[in-house]
């Protein structure tokens, strides 16, 4: 396969340019932090617990697309597939902090962990209180005993939605933290890749997959999963992924869940719906009730073809925050 064709200008400027596009599209709801690669909400309520999300770029609309009402208050954006730097994180923390501390939610990767930790230390020196929730929903990445070795993938979506609601309603950082941790701990995902995405600056694909093979469990940057095999039909693949997710938490009959089918980039909406249909059938057979379903491109890996399935087990509190209205570039709910 040749290098992917893309609509780009200077590939070194992609993050800066996409932020300009995002801010322009949000018509005043967001602003860009001093020409730097971070977005911040224009109106953040005084005395609000603030929510910061972030990570490497290349996963659009994650993360800056989730800065908005009842969602996050700001997002520092790293270069493509690279965690943001501590100083950018600290400056974003300062811009969104309103005296009640800041919850930081991001995916569990060595680079993110280190950079956000450094930022948290610097913020503390500057008198800003932070708490951290690392999302580690990827069942494929490690067995349950090594939970903290798991990567954060599309589960970010649910944790951010719930944490955003909680940060809008609760006036105490510890409480927001508790709710976000609960969302994180009840969320499990599994991905499948059909074809690689690429890095704009090099134009190189992040991995190579033979024409007739898929990789089950592949990560959001193309990190290897648990099995490479010949492609089979959508239902069989969806069933395998769903079973791995269900067994992991585990989810059981009578549970109520939220379902997310997330597009990794280039997969058609048609395929997403076919897979979502199968997950509904499987959960119904197991007596698991789907409270709501989201299907779309929320955490992508450039033009990677493939999708992930995420389930979050709900209780009354999680349901409340999940169902709250929200508005941002990537996600609006009435």
């Amino acid at each position: 396969m040749g290098k992917p064709k893309k609509l780009l200008n200077n590939p070194v400027e992609v993050v800066s340019e996409l932020i300009d596009g995002l801010v322009a599209a949000c018509g005043g709801d967001l602003y860009r932090l001093d020409g730097r690669n971070a977005v911040v909400r224009t109106h953040i309520a005084n005395d609000k617990v603030a929510l910061l999300i972030g990570g490497g770029s290349g996963h659009e609309p994650m993360f800056p697309g989730f800065v908005g009402s009842n969602l996050a208050d700001g997002a520092p954006c790293g270069e493509v597939f690279a965690a943001p730097t501590p100083d950018l994180i600290v400056d974003t923390l300062s811009a969104i902090e309103r005296g009640r501390g800041v919850l930081m939610v991001y995916g569990n990767y060595a680079g993110d962990n280190m950079n956000f930790d450094i930022a948290a230390e610097l913020a503390e020196e500057a008198g800003i209180v932070t708490r951290t929730v690392r999302v580690w929903d990827d069942v494929a990445a490690a067995p349950p005993e090594r939970m903290t070795d798991r990567r954060g993938i599309a589960g970010d979506f649910f944790v951010i939605k719930v944490a955003g609601g909680a940060a809008a309603e609760l006036d105490n950082l510890d409480e927001v933290y508790r709710v976000a941790i609960k969302a994180r701990d009840n969320t499990r995902s599994m991905g499948v890749a059909l074809a690689a995405g690429s890095i704009p600056e090099t134009g190189e694909r992040t991995f190579e997959l033979p024409e007739d093979e898929i990789e089950i469990g592949m990560g959001a940057h193309g990190e290897p999963g648990i099995a490479r095999r010949k492609i089979t039909d959508a239902d069989a693949i969806a069933e395998e992924m769903t079973n791995l997710i269900l067994a992991d938490l585990p989810f059981s009959a009578g549970d109520e869940v939220a379902l997310l089918v997330n597009n990794l980039g280039a997969t058609t909406c048609m395929e997403m719906l076919i897979v979502s249909r199968k997950v509904h059938q499987l959960l119904q057979q197991r007596g698991i009730v789907i409270h709501r379903t989201d299907v779309g491109s929320f955490l992508t890996c450039q033009e990677m073809a493939g999708l992930s399935i995420t389930l979050m087990k709900l209780d009354a509190e999680l349901k409340h925050y999940l169902d709250m209205p929200a508005r941002s570039f990537a996600y609006s709910r009435a």
């Binding site: 270069e79 597939f81 965690a83 990767y109 060595a110 950079n115 450094i118 890095i199 469990g217």
Partner: protein, 210 residues
């Protein structure tokens, strides 16, 4: 051939280190494509191109200041795991140089040791997990053992040890970083950060030996 470096020589050495990294960007990217997410080279370029700029304007008051400035620049410009790790290496390592008028073998060994401790504390990784630590830790031991032989030998031995460490990473299964889930598939490939670590020492060695 230098047996000690003045602050401005230390600055020139770090400038040479930066150039050496930038010259090897494509190779580093390829190494990261094999077992990571393919961005290590472009990340190191962001950081070390900025180090070169910073060295061009800094007032070389002391070696510790020069090393710390390099670390701060790497931290602010690189991003990703590499930014935190190599930023920490230089920032934490610079503490060993504080109060020293010049960089000598003891200073180099101290830099590597405190840098290693800083990196281990920052990321929680240990030797054997297929990271830059597997080049840095043996380099630190080698420099320590060669203090009595002076800077030229210390940096040469440290470089050799780092290179051996890079080779050793080929036989390791990654348990941290983006290669972590590769399992046995990470075998046979060196760790990108370890390669960068050995390039840093190599450039120091060449400057000091010149």
């Amino acid at each position: 051939m230098y047996d000690t470096l003045t602050p401005s020589q230390a600055r020139d050495m770090l400038s040479a280190v930066a150039q050496h990294l930038v010259a090897n960007v494509d190779m580093l990217t390829e190494v990261d494509q094999a077992i990571g997410d393919g961005d290590h080279g472009i990340g190191m370029r962001r950081g070390f191109a900025a180090v070169e700029e910073a060295m061009a304007t800094i007032d070389p008051e002391s070696v510790s200041k020069v090393f710390k400035a390099a670390g701060t620049t790497i931290m602010a410009k690189t991003g990703g795991a590499a930014g935190a790790v190599f930023g920490t290496l230089f920032r934490a390592g610079s503490a060993a140089l504080e109060g020293r008028p010049a960089l000598d073998a003891e200073g180099l060994a101290g830099f590597l040791l405190l840098g290693l401790e800083g990196v281990e504390k920052r990321g929680g990784a240990q030797p054997g997990q297929k990271t830059m630590i597997d080049a840095l830790a043996p380099a630190s031991v080698a420099a320590e053992a060669a203090i009595a032989s002076g800077l030229v030998v210390a940096v040469r031995n440290a470089t050799d040890a780092a290179k051996a460490g890079v080779e050793a990473t080929k036989g390791m299964i990654a348990t941290t970083g983006k290669a972590r889930t590769l399992g046995e598939r990470s075998l046979g490939h060196p760790d990108p950060g370890a390669v960068s670590m050995s390039l840093i020492l190599e450039a120091m060695r060449d400057y000091i030996a010149a």
